[in-house]
Symmetry: C2
Subunit: 381 residues, 2 copies
């Protein structure tokens, strides 16, 4: 149903089961959208509804087993999953918990360790009371961590996954190229946001889960605020940062524009951002670490000062807008072919910030830009 | 920052603290987007990134305290919250956990019960390992449930909240009215989806987190599948169900169209759906229960047979696409003025389904349609 060959899912499963064996896990218990989709291809926007829990069990051998609300069964039946167990959700007395306990008891031995993703960038998507009930109902089977299994698998993309991220990046590139058509002096920022999302859709996005940005004199205060109704003024720097989805995969990059001629400070800052992302790009080969990319960019951006407050200068990207690893001083993940990263340097300008972002693919040799590499000169609207 | 008066947040806080006192809770610990926004007004699409945890503590007295990644501090400082404690996230060694422990220890007495929403439609948005570390670090303070506090508060909307939902419904109404401009015989369904989202944006949506639907002969197989590239054909029933957001509040309703003349079965089924939602509407007054609304609709829809598989025939609506209560046989929530509900009857037609959905407001007297009440005749494209 999602355009991946069955071999793609078989390879993911085999990889997971190898790691599970090494870690002594009898099963994985997964509860979030990307986790379920990774092993099944199950793609729906219905996850926007927080009402119903969804479960997938990856056993030590054999195919994954879905334990899901009955409303999802027809769509799950279109995936490669055969064993689909359902309950009528929501059930205020027992919302799938006893069905999940029974299924886990059937699929794992007494005393089994059942791995739930428990590290950074994960959470358990089910009510806390139900999670505690589940643990109690499992008796001597323990809900443990997944020993980084999901992180290790999802962090390195297959060729088929990379192709989707590349397509998403190309959709965004066409939308970014048309921004001069929708934004000029006097356009309220919230209208820019609406029109840009329309451009993304027109150019082929399936949906636009993420858009952030800003427009103020010489930069912006932060990169996560919703749009104001403030009209664009000469001297503003407009930034749009989009995470659009095509076939279930994200792009995540931004572009900056100067409304009218840019100040010298802005021109210099933008050039510095590009210098930073270019330097990290040159370094981004197997064996280098994310911490090294951080230090390379940070040295260019700060001239030794503290830098901006964003906390990191890039991250992984794929089925989620942001994924492991983090380009921060404390993350020493070694780059591997198939990783897709954002390079996201930020710099302070007259009390504001400018942020630039590109998406790149790590290969055996030189990396590849998935977003169209920006030049040092900021584009003028 | 979100257009609510400070009194709105003070009233929410007072209501929460009253309930907390009755339940013996020394604080609430909140981790999800609507929970934080409910008490702060903090509105950003940055939650799309799963990387960083965010925490809000509602103490037994005094204003809430935010414990958040530093990247969010400037925006949080625009809300009515004064006490904002930050760490540089992500931190792979200690991602806010010790700061959270210290803050909870400062704000609550020894032996305190700290309430986390733990019931249906909730989850804890932080890594499981960190949650376990938090509990261990709190010593004799216990992380318990919130005794339904968030459910009770959020389920009954203030006038200011209702005004936003009404506006969102009106945006969707204008977009639905223009569907004949974007969908006709030969239009691929995925293009209908893209163009409809563009209409929602053009009519004033800030973003379109949810769109589902289908188009097949005499109905559709389910209501959660992504769009196919299949072109619309005469005899198809096109359904679009959108949850768009305006100023942080959702609408959630759908419309059906017949591509060319509808079959008798479809015309009858559509009329039956309207009969069901109208009957529930008439009944939807304070004192009635959601279970009663369910049985009223179900009797009309099934003539005693099992009905469709959706599991419920409507739900609450507000800051989330779907909220408590559920219109199911097992939910005996009494309706109260200020509740906003969807009425969502579904019916089987020749092995397919049709689903209709309206949004209504419960008042002291007769309810009010927030979506424009649909008539019994299905619209022809």
């Amino acid at each position: 149903m999602t355009g991946f060959a069955p071999e793609e899912f078989q390879a993911r499963l085999a990889h997971a089961q190898n790691r599970m064996q090494a870690a002594g896990l009898s099963a994985l218990l997964l509860t979030t959208e990307p986790e379920l989709r990774y092993f099944t291809g199950y793609l729906t926007r219905f996850w926007e509804s927080p009402t119903r829990p969804w479960f997938l069990i990856v056993p030590a051998s054999g195919k994954p087993v879905a334990v899901i609300p009955s409303i999802g069964a027809p769509l799950m039946a279109q995936t490669w999953i055969d064993d689909i167990r359902t309950w009528t959700a929501p059930d205020l007395v027992d919302d799938g918990v006893s069905l999940l306990i029974d299924t886990l008891a059937e699929l794992t031995p007494n005393g089994a360790a059942i791995g739930c993703p428990d590290g950074h960038e994960t959470h358990i998507r089910m009510p806390l009371a139900d999670f505690r009930r589940l643990q109690a109902g499992l008796g001597n089977r323990q809900l443990t961590g997944d020993h980084g299994t999901l992180r290790a698998l999802r962090m390195v993309k297959s060729d088929a996954e990379v192709a989707r991220i590349r397509t998403a990046c190309q959709v965004a590139a066409r939308a970014f190229a048309r921004v001069p058509d929708i934004a000029s002096v006097g356009t309220p920022l919230d209208q820019v946001f609406r029109r840009f999302q329309m451009l993304c859709l027109e150019e082929g996005a399936d949906w636009v889960p993420y858009l952030a940005g800003g427009a103020e004199q010489d930069g912006y205060a932060d990169v996560i605020s919703p749009a104001t109704q403030e009209p664009l003024k000469p001297g503003d720097v407009l930034m749009l940062d989009t995470g659009l989805v095509r076939d279930g995969y994200f792009c995540d990059y931004d572009r900056n524009w100067s409304v009218g001629p840019a100040s010298v400070a802005v021109r210099d800052a933008h050039a510095r951002l590009i210098e930073a992302s270019d330097a990290a790009f040159e370094q981004a080969r197997p064996g280098a670490t994310t911490a090294q990319l951080f230090h390379t960019m940070n040295a260019i951006l700060t001239d030794g000062s503290a830098g901006t407050d964003a906390g990191r200068l890039g991250h992984g990207l794929g089925m989620s807008l942001t994924e492991w690893p983090s380009i921060i001083a404390g993350d020493h993940t070694e780059l591997q072919p198939g990783m897709v990263l954002t390079l996201e340097p930020g710099i302070a300008v007259n009390g504001k910030i400018l942020v630039h972002e590109e998406n790149i693919l790590i290969t055996e040799g030189a990396p590849e830009f998935l977003s169209p590499r920006a030049g040092p000169e900021i584009t003028e609207l």
